[in-house]
């Protein structure tokens, strides 16, 4: 199997908590490498948050996908540096999140000790007249917002 094809297999694994995007679109897939002699595949991933409870499921899903593609002994390595940023979410990932009613993050910036809250557009009607309901949401990476224009609540993936 070619290196590109191998990466495609891993890249197609979906995030268990944001099921509309793949781990590649989310920016947590860092590397897929095949040992030229043993043929053993090593996948490198990085967590969104240190305590993200989805990591075990993601590791299992990667191993399952590779096993189905003929690589039953794949190894999944987790790295922490450089730290994941929401800036790594791809354009297609952002579009899919928005289509699923999850407002994608704005630019994360760096070195700010106190995060600024920028305007978040409603993923349902596109209005900018929105407000934060809760600084934390259904997962560690999201906050709960609502739209004052269409009145719909929505999740917002926080810039990190």
């Amino acid at each position: 199997m070619s290196a590109d094809r191998l990466r495609d297999v891993v890249a197609a694994v979906v995030d268990p908590e944001l099921r509309v995007v793949t781990i590649e679109e989310l920016g947590i897939l860092r590397d897929v490498a095949e040992d030229p002699t043993s043929g053993r595949v090593t996948v490198t991933i990085t967590p969104t948050y240190t305590g993200c409870p989805a990591m075990d499921v993601i590791r299992a899903d990667i191993r399952r996908a590779l096993a189905a593609a003929g690589h039953p002994d794949a190894e999944v390595v987790t790295v922490y540096a450089p730290a994941w940023s929401t800036d790594w979410i791809s354009a297609s990932g952002r579009a899919k999140l928005a289509a699923a009613g999850i407002a994608p993050p704005g630019p994360a910036g760096s070195g700010r000790s106190v995060p600024l809250t920028l305007t978040v557009r409603c993923p349902h009607c596109g209005a900018a007249d929105t407000e934060q309901v809760s600084r934390f949401g259904s997962t560690a990476c999201k906050a709960l917002w609502r739209c004052r224009a269409c009145r719909e609540p929505f999740d917002h993936l926080r810039a990190l």
């Binding site: 240190t50 540096a81 809760s134 259904s138 560690a140 926080r158």
Partner: protein, 241 residues
């Protein structure tokens, strides 16, 4: 300076005990959103604790993993600061604890993210981003309560007065650590003092400075916390789900 097991335990135990205390608020916070917030902050702390304790166990080389360190040590072997083990008190006390802890962790993790130990630097630079959000959360509540009603102001001031003495321990000199905490207090004050001022709260005077956590000498509160945290693991060693 070289990273020591004791130093990693201090960092990891701070995060672990803070996570356990914050978790006590689940289903008991003043509003549902705060249940979710404190649970998520606890989850971040637990994530950092797991990485730090795993590293401590590997550096120690005695075969102890994160679970052995979290569940099978007694109180005298914990190296966390006293601040994190103090009871939650009312919501204002919890927010005062979180404000001071997050400000301390932010300055410490920021300094550690540039240290020579690459593994520790990676953990610190990851945790730093999460702690910045915790700090912002505690800051908003401190201002809201301090600059709120007469009753919320009274309670927030009482909480700050109660917790302030325990912040001195965080900055005890440790010349052997990768980053000496003694050099971080000025930065901590530069974060915390403007928050207290905005919240119309008085910054307490520096006098009483209880300490001992870094040497394993804890308040009576830690033993009760550990009893609850460790009972399942000790009753069913090696149990999995």
């Amino acid at each position: 300076m070289k990273t020591t097991v004791d130093h990693l335990l201090a960092l990891g135990d701070d995060a672990l005990i803070a996570a356990q205390r914050l978790g006590e608020w689940v289903a008991a916070a003043p509003e549902l959103e705060e249940d979710v917030a404190l649970a998520n902050i606890a989850l971040d702390q637990l994530g950092a604790a797991r990485l730090l304790l795993t590293y401590a166990g590997e550096l120690e080389g005695a075969g102890r993993d994160e679970d052995a360190l979290a569940y099978l040590r007694d109180d005298r072997e914990f190296r966390n600061c006293l601040l994190v083990e103090l009871p939650n008190g009312d919501f204002a006390v919890t927010m005062a604890k979180l404000l001071f802890l997050a400000a301390y962790q932010l300055t410490l993790y920021t300094a550690l993210s540039g240290c020579a130990d690459e593994r520790l630097a990676a953990i610190a630079s990851k945790a730093r981003k999460e702690v910045a959000y915790h700090l912002d959360h505690a800051r908003l509540w401190t201002v809201r309560l301090g600059d709120g009603t007469a009753e919320s102001h009274r309670r927030m001031q009482a909480a700050v007065d109660e917790i302030w003495p325990y912040t001195h321990e965080l900055f005890l000199p440790d010349p052997t650590a990768p980053v000496d905490p003694a050099g971080l207090r000025a930065e901590f004050l530069a974060i915390v003092e403007p928050v207290l001022a905005e919240a119309t709260l008085e910054r307490p005077a520096d006098d009483w400075a209880p300490e001992g956590g870094r040497r394993g000498l804890h308040t009576e509160h830690l033993s009760y916390l550990l009893a609850e945290m460790q009972v399942l693991h000790r009753a069913h060693p090696g149990a999995r789900w």
